[in-house]
Symmetry: C2
Subunit: 127 residues, 2 copies
C-alpha cells in the first residue's frame, strides 16, 4: 500500500504531567535530536523533511519518535505532511528553565555545528 | 591476581573544556546514575560501595565509568578504596546553571524514589 494512502495509527504524545525528565535528557543527548530541537526553538512549526540533518530516513524517523514520546515535541499530520513543534509551554511548566539552560549550554560550547542534508521520514509509530 | 594487588590503569577524566554536553545529558538520563549524582551533590566525596543503589556490581561499575568519562564525577583511589566526587565547580564553569536546573527538575517531579541496596564495584577502566 502506498504511504500516501496507508492508514497511520494515531501519534502518541505524553500528557504534560507524564513527561519524564530522564526521557527528556535522553532525547536531548543525541546531536541529531538536539539539532531538531534547536531548529524548532526558532519557529512555531516545521514540516518533516525540511530539517538540516543528514541521516537516513529510518534513523530520522526514530529520532522524531524519541522526541515525541519523550514529550519534547508534538507532531500532527495534514494533507500527507507531518509537522513538528516544540512543546515549549508544556516543558516550561513541567521543568522550569530546563530547555533554556540546556540550549544555552549547547550553544556556548560549540555544539551548533549542524550537519546539512534532508530527511524524508518523520517519526511514524513504526519508525 | 587478587583485586587488592592488581595494578589498575589510571582513571580517565576529561578536562573541563572537554566536557561534552551531550555526554553529560546522556549520563544523567539513567535513574541509577541520577541517584549517584544526587547523593554526591550532598557531600564532598563518597566511597564506592556505599551508594543507595540496587544494581549488580558490574552494572554499577559501568554507571560510574559513564559518569566519570562524561565529566560529571572524579574518582580517586586510596588504600584499595575508590572515592567519587561531583565535579561541581568544573560543571558550573562549563555549563552554568545546568546541574542545579536538572537536579531541581528531577526533585520536583517525584524522581527522588531511590532504590536501596549496595554495590561493590565502582567504575574501573575495564568495567
Amino acid at each position: 500500500m502506498p504511504r500516501s494512502t496507508r492508514r497511520r495509527p494515531a501519534l502518541a504524545h505524553p500528557a504534560t504531567e507524564e513527561i519524564d525528565l530522564l526521557d527528556v535528557l535522553h532525547a536531548l543527548s543525541d546531536p541529531t535530536r538536539m539539532t531538531i530541537v534547536r531548529v524548532l526553538r526558532a519557529e512555531p512549526e516545521r514540516a518533516c523533511g525540511t530539517f538540516p540533518v543528514d541521516v537516513a530516513p529510518s534513523t530520522l524517523s526514530h529520532h522524531f519518535k524519541v522526541l515525541r514520546e519523550s514529550g519534547l515535541i508534538t507532531q500532527r499530520e495534514e494533507a500527507n505532511r507531518r509537522f513538528s513543534a516544540l512543546r515549549t509551554v508544556d516543558l516550561e511548566r513541567r521543568f522550569p528553565g530546563l530547555l533554556d539552560t540546556v540550549l544555552a549550554a549547547y550553544g556556548r560550547t560549540g555544539g551548533g555545528a549542524e550537519a546539512r542534508g534532508g530527511g524524508e521520514a518523520c517519526g511514524g509509530e513504526d519508525g
